[in-house]
């Protein structure tokens, strides 16, 4: 075979995708759909020290760990980001991300907007996707359906959402999660993944 038989197709480096957005926007629903089709992608599971709820599955919804295990990882700087919410720890472990990238697999993680800001400082070449509700009224409807929250708590969540939405400018992409439009949101995220693999100058994740 001559020199000109050389393939012009180059493998692209793996991607690290950070999916964020306000509470109630539908991040989990989107990820469940993505999981069904993107079998080669690694879905990074958040660790938590809070008690598992009956409907939750360890290693699927969260990795449920003891406070000791969590704090040891925190001390070893083995968490990409972490937060303490009402006395419970939540955090993203670095090792599964490191493993995915070493095996040339794309990885995706779901975090809140504050967590995305933390990851951006550590891995700026991640792909930051903000899942946006069509309106705050619609987000309120969804939160009302989802939680049996008292009005003050709901008001706090909505105020948080309004503040988080202001931070969309720190993200690369915004995907609207319309009512009955989950398929569109999932297709848009898949399009973003496809497109990022077509970039002439790919992002190169340098993992700490």
């Amino acid at each position: 075979m001559t020199h000109s038989g050389k393939s012009l197709i180059h493998p692209t480096p793996p991607l690290f995708i950070v999916l964020s957005g306000p509470s109630g926007v539908g991040k989990d629903a989107v990820l469940t759909r993505l999981k069904a089709t993107e079998s080669r992608m690694r879905f990074i599971i958040t660790m938590t020290t809070r008690i598992r709820r009956p409907e939750e599955i360890d290693g699927v919804d969260y990795s449920f760990v003891s406070k000791e295990v969590f704090e040891r990882l925190l001390k070893k700087n083995e968490l990409l980001e972490s937060a303490n919410v009402y006395g419970n720890w939540y955090g993203v472990p670095k090792q599964p991300v490191r493993d995915a990238l070493r095996e040339k697999k794309d990885a995706i993680v779901k975090v809140d907007v504050q967590g995305a800001a933390t990851i951006k400082k550590i891995i700026p070449d991640s792909i930051f996707i903000f899942l946006m509700p069509p309106s705050l009224d619609e987000l309120e409807n969804r939160l009302r359906q989802r939680y049996t929250e008292k009005p003050p708590e709901l008001a706090i969540r909505l105020q948080s959402a309004a503040d988080e939405i202001k931070q969309v400018s720190e993200f690369d992409y915004v995907v609207i999660n319309n009512k009955n439009g989950l398929d569109i949101a999932v297709e848009e995220i898949k399009a973003i993944i496809t497109t990022e693999k077509c970039r002439v100058k790919p992002r190169r994740i340098i993992f700490p």
Copy 2:
């Protein structure tokens, strides 16, 4: 309706897409497929002064114009890019692009690699897509099937292609047009369009 009922969905500005790549890579085949599904997109037709071939349709394959008409547009700086090939003029008129963008329609144009470089200087916020053959051998096969060219002419075309491929670094995206993989190439271009519309900081075309 309260303040929070305000839609969080913003319309994105129209895109201007420049599809390029070496002769024989399959740009026309890709555009024909795109046309079938992207009915709202404007496909900008290249103008030429050469004689129409029997199988060609005016306004579809090219806009066939007289030398006088072409040179008048050239003098008025109404061509986005132009080239004289073996005594025949080829050029992309500005007006249909201007019309598309004013009507908030995305527009796409097919040009050679030199033409893409010219457009990049004038409208740097265009989306530059390079259609790549899987290998130069494969491109040679396609050129042999397409043309009844004499070996010296074929050699010149292949050398041009090799030179053009070196300029891929000036493009935003590279899409491989594999044998029997036309559908994948078209899907990737559609994914790029979808993704560009999800950008938090959209490209804003300032048209001259």
